[in-house]
């Protein structure tokens, strides 16, 4: 036989209070998960586009901030590195924003545009690999549209005509990419069409230079060589460094990392306050009994344990529904926004630990009251 599970029985005895406590913890857990989810989605969305770009080394202007806010630089730089040993292919990538009119509502909205030479295998999306797709891209004023573009951009049927920056434009096909936080929707078009839409921008100024390497080549070595050959008006990065650089930009140079960090902190404090309220009321109601335990010969340590156990039980009981609801909301968010928001084991574990920590803090704050219960006052 074991010790009487006083903490659990005390909690179970007050059913309404227990439900409120669980709901409170679950709410805090939910808020934490949503904040981490959005932050994770933001960071993942900056990588998701790179995942679909088939390049090993990236050339960008030192003034570029991240993929959706690049500064153009001379295409010449790309050709300068084309001859380096290990380089298989160099490909220019052009990027701009375009006002896309929803043909149904006739409302225009900014769409992010990638432009490539249709012969270059810049993207990995299978829809763009067919000969038909390449032919379609080469037709004037024809674009491919991202299925993950927000629904506000309107229908995406092939052959549909609408207007973009006061030019007629025809949808030539679809692909699946997702613009993340940077773009509500994306388009892919040929460099020739890009010239038409964004005149007078010349094709000799590119947004990004993409380099494919011969398989088995050491990218770091090639990057080092390129850096020695190129003037300082261009940065050379491996794919991993390019991704890290974008992530760092979002986290440090925008309010977004801070906002989500603050969101987690606020949720954490909300959780502490809710659990503290519950534990405090519970202790207040049981003060005579706790004092009696002390009169019987239980030490402060035992009371300490009871309150801490109550807080950990609340943490776990609240965490489970919090997690389940979060998974459902992640799914809902993904469907509504196409943000790559997903649960991962690391987050599941770290939020569980955070929740236990949160409840323990409340326990430690409220336990003082129980420990100072004076048995002499019970008489």
């Amino acid at each position: 036989m074991k010790r009487t599970p006083l903490a659990l029985l005390n909690l179970l005895h007050e059913r309404t209070r227990l439900v409120v406590a669980i709901a409170g913890v679950a709410f805090a857990v939910l808020l934490i998960f949503m904040n981490l989810g959005f932050q994770g989605a933001l960071l993942a969305s900056t990588t998701i586009m790179y995942d679909q770009i088939d390049a090993d080394i990236f050339l960008v202007s030192p003034q570029s901030l991240e993929i959706s806010s690049t500064k153009a630089f001379p295409r010449e730089r790309l050709y300068q590195v084309a001859g380096i040993e290990g380089v298989a292919r160099v490909m220019p990538l052009y990027m701009e924003y375009l006002l896309w009119r929803n043909p149904d509502t006739r409302l225009s909205r900014a769409m992010f545009v990638f432009a490539i030479n249709p012969q270059d295998p810049v993207f990995k999306m299978p829809e763009l690999q067919t000969a038909d797709a390449i032919a379609a891209l080469q037709r004037p004023n024809t674009v491919f549209i991202d299925r993950r573009s927000r629904s506000e951009f309107g229908p995406q049927t092939t052959g549909l005509e609408t207007e973009a920056d006061r030019r007629r434009v025809t949808i030539g096909g679809q692909y699946t990419l997702g613009g993340g936080f940077a773009a509500d929707g994306t388009l892919i078009m040929s460099d020739q069409n890009f010239r038409r839409f964004f005149a007078p921008r010349p094709l000799s100024l590119i947004s990004m230079g993409l380099v494919q390497l011969v398989p088995g080549t050491n990218a770091d070595q090639v990057v080092a060589t390129m850096r020695t050959r190129l003037p300082p008006d261009v940065r050379v990065l491996t794919k991993a460094d390019m991704i890290a650089s974008d992530r760092q930009f979002w986290q440090e140079n925008t309010a977004i990392g801070f906002i989500f960090g603050l969101g987690v902190a606020v949720s954490f404090i909300v959780g502490i306050v809710i659990v503290y309220q519950i534990l405090y009321t519970d202790i207040r109601d049981h003060l005579r009994e706790y004092a009696t335990l002390k009169a019987m010969g239980y030490g402060s340590r035992y009371l300490f344990q009871i309150v801490l156990q109550e807080s950990i039980i609340l943490a776990i009981l609240g965490y489970i529904p919090g997690l389940l609801i979060s998974v459902a909301l992640y799914d809902l968010t993904f469907r509504a926004t196409q943000l790559p928001i997903a649960m991962n084991p690391g987050r599941i574990l770290s939020v569980l630990l955070l929740t236990i920590f949160m409840c323990s803090v409340s326990g430690l704050v409220s336990v003082r009251r129980a420990v100072t219960a004076d048995p002499a006052d019970v008489f």
Binding site: M1, T4, L6, H13, R288, K294, A295, M296, V378, F379
Partner: protein, 263 residues
Amino acid sequence: METPHNLSLPQSTAIAEIKDAAVHIKNLNYSFGRGDLCKQVLYDINLTLPRGQIVIMTGPSGSGKTTLLTLIGALRSAQEGSLRVLNQEIVGLSNRQLVEVRRNIGFIFQAHNLFESLTAAQNVEMAVELTGEFATKRDQATAILTQVGLKDRVDYKPDALSGGQKQRVAIARALVNQPRLILADEPTAALDKKSGRDVVTLMQKLAKEQGKTILMVTHDNRILDVADRIINLVDGRLESDETLDTFVTTHDPKVLDRRMFIL
């Protein structure tokens, strides 16, 4: 070490008996607060409670009865004088040591102070767990609850018990670890006449069977007859200390009347 001379004992007592006494108090003073707010509530208390004695303490409200009880029970620490409880001097003990002393004392309060979330048996088991006897805790609880007449109520929660039954659970909890000293503060105050009587008779029976010392504070004149001895505290001083018979003779109005009549 000990002086046999003790004013408040009714009969002269041998040194050995004092040494073996459940409670031995010498020149105990106690005040609440400090400095200007310091208020003395107990003055020069000298009292010895031999083993197996049932002692009732009476006195006007505010005279210091509860304070004295909490001092004996190691619930407060005394600063002055000497207070030996179960052969241990408790003046000057640390908090941790006081907790140890308490484990040998059974407390019965005016309110039952049972955990509403625990059954009668579990409430009693909480006391058994202090001794570490986890394996037999259920049996011990059932046995003592049977003794207090709650055999068929062991798995009831306090909600489902009457006031008298709850107080009996509290008594069972106080007695289950066989404490040698039982301190009770108005244990019948919250009970009706009959349950109050039952509770006290029960305490008397258990105490006599097991040779326990009971110190009980009460305002209830109807239960004085269970006492071997009655002490009276007035304004923080022990005013009288008598056997039951003398107390009845001096306090019963009819006896007084008869005496006057004879005179």
